[in-house]
Amino acid sequence: MENGEGSGSLSRRQLLRMIGATAGATAMYQAMSSLGFAAESPYQGPIDLQGAPRGASVLILGAGMAGLTAAYELRNAGYKVQVLEYNARAGGRNWTLRGGDRYTELGGHTQQCEFDKDLYINPGPWRIPYHHHGMMHYTKLLKIPLEPFFQVNYNAYLHSSGAFGGKPQRFREVKADYQGHVAELLAKATRQNSLDASVTKQDQEMLLESLRHWGALDSDYSYVSSDASSDRRGYEKKPGGGLSARPIPSRPIALHDILDSGLWSGVANGDTFDMQTALFQPAGGMGRIGEAFGKELGPLIRYNAKVTDIRQDDRGVSVTFIDVQNPGAPQTARADWCLCTIPLPILAQIPMNVGQSMGAAISAVPYAPAIKAGLQFKRRFWEQDENIFGGITYTDLPIMNIGYPNTGFQSGGKGVLLGAYVWGLRAMEFTAMTPPERVQKVVDYGSQIHPQYHQEFENGVAVAWHRVPFTMGCFGQWTTATRAKHYDDLCQIDGRIALAGEHASFIGGWQEGAVTSALDAIGRLHQRAVAQGESA
């Protein structure tokens, strides 16, 4: 069938296909940027909610990062707060699966996580950029120890199944060689006076010197096998001590091979705003944040509560819910105001008397597919055999990412890595499989990069976000058009109801979006409550 790029330029079509297939990671980040993902957090420091009217109450639906943030701040401001949460735990997508945990997905498959003690996988968010100031604030407040998250590991791999005989290449080599070749070409163009029209003679001198420095070029401005290039891409034989000390330089990959492989697309993976050093992870798993919030809020959270109806009137909001552990007669909670953080695919199915514009916005946002798999191995072979300590390998295989644990380095015993982090079409296909099939595929594909997999694999879990009972999808996937048409309607307070969550933010898919949208929404709810408190 027609592939659809229109004019039929084969090379362009191939290029697009290659970018789509082999360059998934970078392409995704770029696509995310245009979706608003790379926006700077608007977090302005601790929120000020002074002057809460005496006895005013807020009912919060959902104990994910948005609901927990709101509950914490509103409680501290003097509001009477109650939270209804579908799960038996706090956190929502802030979630860690550890040995002994059981998880039942939509469709009924139950997975028993059999990881060893202290080993875990974060099925949802796994990293916190330093500039997600809201998340940084609350982890500090809750005294959550943070560990570095290695977004970029120069010794991890970039892998294209159709290039270099399927052999993964070290990030360090691809980056150094791509950069070196580009520097050489640019130096050549400069010296052939091709840049005379755009760069002054004086600047050309400086440009040449900078290219030599940037690309590790030799005295002739060539990128060749040398101490200089090996100092970037690594040596054939590393410098040592004693009689065996003399290093042997390595040979760069040819420019054509880098371009043809598509691996150049991975070079900028750590350059996007959200991926720039420093990034962090909570020690013990991302879920530590939700757990700490849950402990802090204690009895304010009513767990196992499935919301079935949301109804507002002149004086307040009534929410009907069912206790999913002990289903009986529906129960009702009531408050002056309601902050609803329920993910949109679920909220769209709950009767709620809000205006048509908010209703339309709630139904307008499809949720992105994503899957993650955690695999336990008998030993940390990626460290022992391949010297990969943390960080991420990127591949064009359906598993897309392999994430190595950023903690517990060189510890004996077993290890758990993220065997797959997949989005887009392939995530849909993984979702359509049973959990054992997913794990089997992840092991099978991963063994093309790490042949140790089959020998060392012990057990695994695979979470497909469209089958997660409490979200039915990974995150709200806005487009430019849907944002223009619906975003403000989604965020406007409707009577006594306001919405919050990553879906009500421009930092979609990130916990920071949930936190900042919650603070924004409760700030506006507070203004209304104060105004009404004064007029009453």
Binding site: A27, G108, T110, Q112, R467, V468, M472
Partner: protein
């Protein structure tokens, strides 16, 4: 509830057992999938094998013996434009959203609509044509991300 406990031995068994399972498709090759294959690769992720649907905090509609399927246009518009959290599959080819839902052709959408309306205990005539799909409103291209 099915319990999933994966040991290495079990996994090795399964590797044999699933050796013939269909490989992943891609944006380049998805165009060759028919209605049944599209259902198995994509739709059943949410609507479940056999169109059984699922219930959690919300629910995925059961397609098995579902009276709403009497309207072919309802089903077709849902696939084309999405509904609630469901993504739209009617974006033009090459819509540029690498992270977005894949493009399905009018012929494929007709085929998958016919498939769900004639399986899972539904016995509607499989008479939806690509022309009928073409006549329905499609979502506009979303030109974003790398082109």
């Amino acid at each position: 509830m099915r319990s999933v406990a994966l040991g290495a031995a079990l996994l090795l068994l399964m590797l044999g057992a699933y050796a013939d399972s269909p490989m992943f498709t891609s944006r380049a090759t998805i165009g060759s999938l028919n209605g049944e294959q599209i259902y198995e690769h994509i739709c059943q992720g949410c609507h479940m094998p056999g169109g059984q649907g699922a219930v959690g905090a919300g629910s995925y509609p059961k397609l098995a013996a579902n009276k709403k399927l009497a309207s072919w246009a309802y089903v077709a518009l849902t696939v084309l434009d999405g509904r609630n959290g469901m993504p739209p599959f009617g974006y033009p080819a090459g819509h540029g959203m690498n992270a977005g839902p894949p493009h399905l052709s009018d012929a494929q959408i007709a085929d998958v609509v016919n498939y769900v309306r004639s399986h899972f205990g539904n016995a509607y005539k499989a008479d939806v044509t690509p022309e009928k799909i073409q006549a329905l409103p499609h979502p506009a291209a979303e030109l974003m991300g790398p082109q």
